[in-house]
Amino acid sequence: MHIMEGFLPAEHAAGWTLAAAPFVIRSARAVKRKMEAHPQAKLLLGLAGAFVFLLSALKLPSVTGSSSHPTGIGLGAILFGPEVMTLLGAMVLLFQALLLAHGGLTTLGANAFAMAIVGPWAAWGVYRLSRWSGASLAVSTFLASALGDLATYITTSIELALAFPDPAGGFPGAVLKFTGVFAVTQIPLAVSEGLLTVLVMNQIVMYNRDELQDLAFLSDEA
């Protein structure tokens, strides 16, 4: 769920950009280190960026019958690691604004905060936690991508609520309103994406185990 261009007041747009910037810079530094250590990382990440963008352009059959697009946040966080995903996500958001007219330039910071920072870290945290507690790959993948989606959507709702507090209910009322309005599309989407990501991970583990090893260095702590 992207906040459209011009939707946030100037101060909020600037504030979220400032809030997202340190994370993006930190991620860029990590990416640079990985590139210096592994010469193939640049090409791999360039293609990974195109892949994440393409995921968001695919149509995803959803439970309600309407088709929506997957965010790829969960899959990206599991495959490439959350640290790398922040830079990739910010990059993809810029491309989405310029090529798909989805999102915007002034709202780039707010969208990046929800989709490139909170989403990937939440997905990755859930994935690690459920793997650690002994859940299967399928269950962990489902939880990671579904909850990663939900975390993104709730963050976006909070950003909207901060900008437009409810006249009577204030900030909490506004959070309820925005989560309520977008729940109609976002909750089925999160479930669909969770199921889809499980299928993708199963396929990868079954047929592309070797390639998965090649990706391991991206999510390593460097």
Partner: protein, 255 residues
């Protein structure tokens, strides 16, 4: 597939200097955020729509269709703004229509439209590659730039691949019902990852054979900055500012 990109490469303003288009759209974007929505953002919207469709020659029908998804977002949010929700321990959930909320929604619509039309002018007249070379001149680190160039290039290659796979699956009834569709899409994405890794490997080998040292050198086409154009753009922006401040005094929207 990516029609916006097609127009960015073929519109009448393609040869304009990127800086001119940036000053125009970023300036108007800023104006639509800081000027009073009525009439400031409305003027921006009118000017940008006219410039994009009449000036740069982007078909109006395409432009109008491009505005539909943001309008959907605005309407959904306006619905949220027009009601008021209070939650309290004694009253429980209370939902009511809120006139003050509705009054917020309307300037918001104008501001979003003004800003969106400014973004569209940039997106529809300026190819991503041009913007990236401008960003390089402004000090974007080379490795980020390389990443973006690679992503941009491969997004089209991957899209073609994905589309071919999708067609093959669809012609075998792979998208017949919801369950099959989800399964097919899962297969498609998984094979796409494989393609991505194979491609990255091949690209690396190909570049290594040509002496790849970690930098991708590209040429960006020369563009001449036309001061007259820049002057016209700034004049237009000043015109919008004065007009909106003047009209605001003269003509306040009935509430």
């Amino acid at each position: 597939m990516y029609l916006i990109d097609t127009y960015a490469h073929t519109n009448r303003w393609r040869r304009w200097h990127t800086l001119e288009k940036l000053v125009l759209s970023a300036g108007m974007l800023l104006l639509s955020l800081i000027l009073p929505p009525w009439p400031g953002a409305a003027l921006v919207f009118a000017a940008m729509t006219l410039l994009t469709t009449r000036g740069a020659g982007v078909p109006f029908g395409f432009y109008a269709r491009l505005l539909l998804p943001p309008l959907g977002f605005i309407l959904a949010s306006a619905a949220a703004l027009a009601v008021s929700v209070t939650v309290g321990p004694r009253v429980g959930w209370h939902v009511s229509f809120s006139p003050t909320g509705a009054a917020v929604a309307y300037p918001l619509l104008l501001r979003s439209l003004g800003a969106t039309s400014s973004l569209y002018l940039l997106a529809l007249t300026t190819p991503v590659v041009d913007l990236l070379s401008t960003l390089r001149r402004w000090g974007l680190p080379q490795f980020v730039l390389d990443l973006m160039l690679l992503s941009y290039r491969f997004l089209f290659v991957l899209t073609d691949t994905a589309r071919a796979m999708g067609t093959a699956q669809a012609s075998r009834l792979g998208y017949g019902d919801l369950r099959t569709a989800r399964h097919s899409l899962g297969l498609l994405i998984a094979s796409l990852i494989r393609r991505v890794l194979v491609r990255a490997n091949r690209l690396e080998q190909g570049l290594a054979a040509r002496g790849y040292d970690g930098n991708l050198a590209v040429l960006s086409p020369e563009q001449a900055l036309a001061p007259a154009n820049l002057g016209r753009i700034v004049t237009l922006e000043l015109l919008v500012v004065t007009l909106s401040l003047y009209l605001k005094e003269l003509w306040t929207w009935p509430r």
